[in-house]
């Protein structure tokens, strides 16, 4: 076989591999979307009984599902705000100042990232039980902030690595006070890192199953509601909500990062 022919087989093989990977990645989502139009009304809701839009209307009568979804959004929003503030301040502080025990904080930061989520979940559960904090919204938010903060810090830190502190001194020499300098000089420079960290925190919070599973008490989140219904078969209205969420996120990304799809990234 000549070099050219070999290259061609290689490229065909590569295309087939990529094709299979993308099909496998999207297949279960296709199942979810198609099943959201399934007219079946009997458990486990798998046999195809014809096409219907009904589930998209019935969805709005399912109060427990909607409440769970609302909880997920509230938790994700509060978590994102708290984790972004704590993480951004922490990242800047750790970059600018030297102090005792800095390496300890640095080490602690990696724990939520590498340790299996179940260990985080049960360790938080035992402490919440010990100090008798009622489990629910509050403990969910505390737990979510705990695993989101490191990701915010890593993102802000990545941005800080090229940051020249002398522009802050310049700003203060020109008469701006510490707060104005922080607000008008430091933050704008770090904005891409902060946004990336916040988005990641939001995504991680919405998607979390394992840690929430241990600290939720009686409060249901959307993933936990799904988990509870899996044994008896997930009703098509859950599929309908999932499809709506997917469409929502795709629209959000196209609106905010539309250039991703047009421009070629280097």
């Amino acid at each position: 076989m000549g070099r050219k022919a070999r290259l061609r087989t290689k490229s065909v093989f590569g295309k087939i591999l990529c094709g299979i990977v993308y099909i496998v990645l999207f297949l279960p989502i296709a199942v979810v979307v198609v099943n959201s139009f399934n007219a079946t009304t009997s458990k486990p809701y798998l046999t195809w009984k014809g096409f219907t839009f009904d589930w998209y209307f019935k969805l709005f009568d399912n109060t427990s599902l909607l409440t769970a979804f609302g909880n997920t959004m509230i938790i994700a929003l509060v978590t994102t705000i708290l984790a972004t503030i704590i993480g951004t301040l922490g990242a800047i502080g750790m970059y600018k100042y030297k102090f005792k025990g800095k390496s300890v904080i640095d080490g602690l930061l990696y724990i939520p990232v590498v340790i299996p989520e179940i260990v985080m979940g049960i360790s938080l559960l035992t402490v919440f039980a010990k100090v008798s904090i009622p489990r629910g919204m509050l403990t969910l938010i505390i737990a979510h902030v705990t695993f989101c903060v490191p990701y915010v810090i890593f993102n802000v830190r990545a941005r800080l690595s090229g940051y020249d502190i002398s522009i802050e001194e310049a700003s203060m020499d020109l008469g701006a006070n510490r707060f104005r300098t922080f607000w008008e000089v430091t933050l704008p420079v770090l904005k891409p890192g902060i946004t990336a960290g916040a988005l990641l925190a939001f995504t991680l919070s919405i998607d979390d199953v394992i840690i929430s599973y241990f600290v939720n008490g009686n409060t249901m989140t959307y993933p936990l509601q799904v988990m509870a219904s899996i044994k008896s078969g997930v009703a098509p209205d859950v599929n309908a909500l999932s499809s709506l969420i997917l469409v929502g996120t795709i629209i959000f990304v196209i609106l905010t990062q539309g250039n991703l799809f047009k421009k070629k990234m280097s």
Binding site: A30, L108, P116
Partner: protein, 291 residues
């Protein structure tokens, strides 16, 4: 002198405390303390009402050596190892192609790996369950086409759990590989082939060593979570392919023996520590695990 300390306090100590204080407190109270408490609890006992009592015992650790548990540890490690190997074998060539393509859809190809993960992981695993089940799509199609006469029993096997794990953790292998392969300098590959190295030789002596860091990060990000993902084996494995996470979950939910659950989590903590130390020994950068 006094004004000097005051000035130092105002210009350094106070802002440093305001900025680093919250994160420090948070990490100590909600990461360090809970983990230490788990260690303490693993030496505690329970009373007849399943309440944790602070009565020192090593019984929980003796329990860890039960034959039925050891079987699950081995099974769990095998599942994690298979998952990691399959992830490398599929993700490496795949990522190599999408990270080095000159197509104008390059960023779209990358986004298409991320987008599926905006749908909740449980929903997607459930999607697989409905696809693979005896009355699922796959069996229906194969039976309609008369390729099979009886539905294939694909669920509740160890292989199905491994498949689910690979599916869930695949992007954690792709992302670090994408960064590592993206940094590859094409001129090095050209130099290697100009000097007469064949394709395979260039791969083994140039490409692989330069992208090894990505493989190592990916391994950490795939292998460790795999030991804890109890919901994947619950849904797809139907109790036939438990991982260590399932054992812990049972003690904290239905079994209600928290000290034993705590001792079981110490196993996961030790495995994590050992692997992370190994990773650092091989020159792994901790920051590349997080982003």
């Amino acid at each position: 002198m006094i004004s000097m300390t005051k000035k130092r306090f105002r210009e350094k100590t106070l802002p440093a405390a305001i900025m680093v204080g919250p994160v420090t407190l948070w990490l100590i109270l909600l990461v360090a303390v809970p983990l230490i408490y788990i260690l303490v609890m693993s030496f505690c006992s329970i009373d007849e009402f399943y309440n944790v009592t602070f009565h020192f015992t090593v019984d929980n650790y003796k329990h860890l050596a039960d034959a039925s548990y050891i079987k699950i540890y081995v099974q769990s490690l095998v599942i994690a190892l298979l998952t990691t190997v399959i992830c490398i074998l599929v993700a490496y060539p795949f990522t190599y192609i999408i990270a080095r393509t000159k197509s104008r859809f390059k960023s779209l190809l990358y986004m298409l790996v991320i987008i599926p993960f905006w749908t909740n992981s449980l929903i997607r695993i459930y999607g697989w369950k409905s696809f693979l089940g005896t009355s699922g799509w796959l069996n229906s199609v194969l039976m309609k086409l008369h390729i099979i006469s009886q539905p294939l029993d694909l669920l509740f096997k160890q292989g199905t759990t491994v498949f689910g794990m690979v599916y869930c953790l695949f992007p954690f292998m792709v992302l670090p590989l994408y960064t590592a392969i993206g940094k590859l300098d094409s001129t090095l590959l050209e130099a290697s082939s100009d000097l007469g190295a064949k394709g395979w030789k260039t791969f083994l002596t140039v490409v692989l060593p330069l992208t090894a860091s990505g493989i190592f990060s990916g391994c950490i990000m795939v292998f460790i979570p795999c030991l804890g993902y109890f919901f994947v084996s619950n849904i797809l494995g139907g109790g036939n392919s438990d991982v260590i996470g399932n054992l812990i979950e049972r003690q904290f939910k239905s079994g209600n023996n928290w000290p034993l659950g705590a001792a079981l989590s110490i196993i996961l903590i030790v495995i994590t520590l050992v692997l992370v130390k190994l990773y650092q020994k091989t020159g792994g950068d901790m920051d590349s695990l997080g982003v």
